[in-house]
């Protein structure tokens, strides 16, 4: 049984790291514990879920600070009261990983997870203004602040986002929040094959109608939706999200349909149905029902999305869908000893693309590179950055790369 430390105040985190010897597993509510490489068994655990609570919320300034262990649900509830939201829309992977809920704010930042509006609103890392945490030496430090612009030295916030707890144990996070759009509309275009569908997504994103998200679900994925119009279409669905003030959203929706005239039958979802639909896309709900499928997430140039998905589907049995205008490929496949890593990574375009193994059993994640292997110079730089924060490799060792 691992020793578990659960500090109740930020200062106690540093004390734990000073007292506890050796490596330690850093986690929040554990909702994404199965994401990334497994850390060695038997490590002591630094459980940050006791550091909860919103410490500053200034709706007028669009700023919120909270303890790192604050549940995302609490953050969302507080924001909703003021008609605001986290524009990066952190996903809830409890369906994928069997967790209790969407986890913590610190966890969303540490894993840099963002929803479908990523293409317009930016990633988690684009919304973090500052943080406080403790590095591997047990030193408390903070970086950034609560103002929108800040050029005081190295941008440590951006480095912390997506570092999976390998650089610092976060204690506090300050994020930019945004007004929630009054209306959401979704334009659906039915029956397109992947290639022309991506054309439609990209053309829509390039239009002046401010499309906020663009996804494509082949028929076998669309039919799992809880939204009737999507599930019963009996065809693939290309979906375009438009949001904003009521009249403006309605107008842009009509105008976009005009642009897409002749591409296929169209339908429209209103706010409530749109919310359900985009939540499904964000949370990868279509793949949650199959508990053993191995799941990949590929980030590619949007123009390559359909080709990459097709190339994997031609060699491995599975299902896929596209988000981020074609730039994000989700692929679920029947379990394989190497999770199909060789095939998946071989179809990435040579000048850009990353494949992350989002879900597989621990043994597979220990054997197969979960994150895209880095070229030697970047790998070396990564090790040096890690050394700058955590020279003894105490924080989540091996969670991202075997030697980091």
């Amino acid at each position: 049984m691992s020793e578990i430390f659960k500090p109740a105040r930020p200062a106690a985190v540093a004390e734990v790291l000073v007292q506890a010897k050796g490596a330690i597993e850093v986690r929040g509510r554990g909702s994404k514990r199965a994401l990334g490489r497994p850390v060695p068994e038997g490590l002591a655990v630094l459980d940050l879920s006791g550091l909860a609570g919103i410490t500053l919320y200034e709706p007028e300034e669009l700023v919120m600070s909270a303890r790192a262990g604050t549940p995302i649900a609490d953050v969302r509830a507080a924001l909703a009261e003021k008609n605001q939201e986290l524009a990066f829309d952190p996903p809830d992977y409890s369906g994928l990983f069997g967790g209790r809920d969407a986890g913590t704010l610190g966890g969303a930042i540490a894993c840099n997870l963002s929803g479908s509006r990523r293409i317009k609103s930016g990633a988690a890392r684009d919304h973090i203004l500052g943080f406080a945490g403790v590095n591997g030496r047990g030193e408390e430090f903070k970086s950034g602040g609560r103002v929108m612009k800040n050029v005081t030295g190295f941008d440590l916030s951006k480095l912390i986002a997506g570092s999976y707890g390998t650089l610092a144990a976060l204690t506090d996070v300050t994020v930019k929040v945004l007004p929630r759009p009054e209306k959401i509309r979704t334009v659906l275009v039915f029956g397109l094959a992947a290639d022309p569908a991506v054309g439609v997504l990209r053309e829509s994103l390039g239009s002046s109608h401010e499309v906020a998200a663009a996804a494509y679900l082949p028929q076998d994925v669309a039919q799992t939706s809880a939204v009737d119009l999507v599930a019963r279409a009996g065809a693939s669905v290309a979906a375009l999200r438009i949001e904003g003030h009521g009249p403006s959203a309605e107008y842009r929706c009509r105008a976009l349909k005009g642009v897409l005239d002749g591409r296929g039958a169209t339908e429209e979802l209103h706010t409530q149905k749109s919310e359900i639909f985009w939540r499904e896309v964000r949370d990868v709900a279509a793949f949650a029902a199959d508990p053993v499928a191995q799941i990949w997430r590929l980030s590619v140039p949007p123009a390559d999305g359909a080709r990459v998905a097709g190339a994997i589907a031609a060699r491995l049995k599975g299902r896929y869908f596209l988000d981020w205008g074609g730039g994000l490929v989700w692929f679920a496949l029947a379990p394989l000893p190497d999770a199909g890593a060789e095939v998946v990574r071989s179809v990435l375009p040579p000048d850009g693309g990353q494949a992350t193994l989002i879900r597989a059993e621990a043994g597979v994640r220990a054997r197969v590179a979960v994150f895209q292997p880095l070229p030697p110079a970047l790998a070396e730089l990564t090790r040096r950055v890690k050394e700058g924060f955590d020279p003894d490799r105490r924080l989540n060792p091996g969670r991202m790369f075997a030697d980091v």
């Binding site: 007028e60 929108m148 951006k158």
Partner: protein, 462 residues
């Protein structure tokens, strides 16, 4: 600065010449010009200036410098504002302005890859017929490499972001000559630490940026601008807060105080009311722009805004923004023979009016002339001290007011620099603002540049 002074010897010079031939320059005038930027901070000339032409050449030059432990100071066009390019203890200035090739523009991905010496205007010129533009617009026609290194921003940051959001990937030469290329076209998620962002804003202290891929934005179908005068600063700031609250996607919101309006009126022969003034710009479809203007006009009226004017004609809009961009020159023209000393702080927007008013009172007590302009959507503002460059006492008084303003901003949970950066001008304020984080920054610096040869004395004290 207590850095060991570096000395250039003949052997080292020959090693540099073997790489870059006649593009290694030791002429005093050229060195002088490369040791200072557009700020009031004293210049420090490097021992030699090398005009590099390719990443490979930069690698060879960095290796040669590393072998001699010579400082390396990257240089674009020298428009930084906190002494970023000063060779505080000598060494070699790497001038990248001849690396000015636009490598690829990818309209389908809305991005462009450029060598570090390409300037923002050069890029926008190349984009002119493609329906796209590069949105970051600091006053100067800076290089993309320099803008990435200083994490530059501009007037449209409130909508389009700063270099932080607009640099997608880059190529950098590290202190040991190793070349790294961060995430290229598939930029939506880095496959490890976000090293691109680590280099953005590192001010040449971690490596030499030789290539930058930037995000491009679509030229909006319609653009409109508006200007409104307010009875006082609070009313202007409250209008800005209300505007952002309602989610109106304003592209630009600039504040000019009454002194600056007077300066602009005189300089640009305009006749705006000499009161705190906001200038807005709206981007979008024709219909959405009209909606945005109407919403903002109603808000401005609620807060006592007067003389709300729309400038829809491109020439009217150009005139308005030219006046804003000329703020610095207009300020200098308030006092012939003077020089403008630009400052830069950023505070939470709820404290903005308070911070500006206290600063204004401090300026008035000091007897200095100093208009104020601000990118208020971000809580960022600049005082332009109009000083006599030969009057050391006056410059000192301006520096004192600046120091109090910076400490005031930090005390209000703000920052000592919203967009100009640290250079060596603000090294001292960093401790006040960051405390312990500096040791973490220092550890990163140590890990990447153990000999401390990359632009020494900037961001971190040696």
């Amino acid at each position: 600065m207590n850095l060991p002074a570096f000395r250039l010897d003949d052997g080292f010079l020959a090693a540099l010449r073997a790489i870059a031939g006649e593009r290694v320059v030791t002429n005093a005038q050229v060195r002088e010009r490369h040791g200072r930027d557009e700020s009031h901070h004293p210049g420090h000339p490097p021992d030699a200036v090398v005009f590099a032409r390719s990443t490979d050449e930069v690698v060879a030059l960095v290796r040669a410098c590393a072998a001699r432990k010579s400082p390396i100071i990257p240089f674009g066009v020298g428009t930084s504002l906190e002494g970023h390019v000063a060779a505080l203890n000598g060494g070699v200035c790497l001038d990248l302005s001849q690396m000015n090739r636009i490598i690829t523009i990818r309209p389908e991905d809305m991005d462009a890859s450029c060598e570090a010496g390409v300037t923002r205007k050069q890029l926008n010129e190349a984009l002119r017929d493609q329906g796209m533009f590069f949105s970051v617009d600091p006053g100067a026609d800076a290089t993309l490499g320099g803008m990435a290194a200083t994490r530059a921003s501009g007037t449209a940051a409130v909508r389009y972001g700063t270099m932080r959001e607009n640099v997608l990937s880059l190529t950098a030469v590290l202190a040991d000559g190793r070349v790294i290329r961060t995430s290229r076209r598939a930029r939506k998620s880095a496959a490890g630490y976000d090293l691109t962002r680590l280099f953005v804003g590192s001010e040449g202290t971690l490596g030499v940026i030789t290539e930058v891929t930037v995000r491009l934005s679509g030229i909006p179908e319609a653009i409109s601008a508006a200007v409104s005068a307010f009875p006082d600063l609070e009313s202007a700031v409250n209008t800005v807060i209300a505007t952002i609250q309602t989610g109106v996607p304003v592209a630009r919101i600039e504040l000019l105080d009454d002194v600056q309006v007077r300066a602009i009126n005189r300089y640009s022969k305009l006749a705006y009311r000499e009161a705190p003034t906001l200038i807005f710009e709206f981007h979008g479809s024709a219909k959405s722009v009209v909606e945005q203007v109407e919403t903002v006009e109603a808000l401005a009226r609620d807060f006592g805004g007067a003389d709300f004017q729309w400038a829809i004609q491109p020439e009217d809009r150009a005139k308005l923004w030219q006046a804003r961009h000329d703020a610095h020159y207009a300020a200098q023209a308030l006092r012939p023979g003077s020089r403008g000393m630009a400052t830069d702080v950023c505070v939470p927007i709820s404290r903005l009016a308070e911070c500006i008013l206290e600063t204004r009172a401090d300026i008035d007590r000091s007897g200095l002339i100093a208009p104020i302009v601000g990118h208020v959507g971000d809580g960022n503002f600049h005082v332009i001290f109009v000083v006599d460059p030969d009057d050391a006492g006056e410059i000192r008084r301006a520096e004192e007011v600046n120091e109090r303003m910076v400490l005031r901003a930090i005390a209000m949970d703000g920052t000592c620099t919203g967009e100009h950066g640290v250079g060596y001008g603000k090294v001292g304020f960093l401790q006040a603002e960051h405390g312990e984080a500096l040791s973490v920054m220092r550890a990163i610096k140590q890990a990447l540049d153990p000999d401390g040869i990359m632009n020494p004395g900037k961001i971190l004290k040696p």
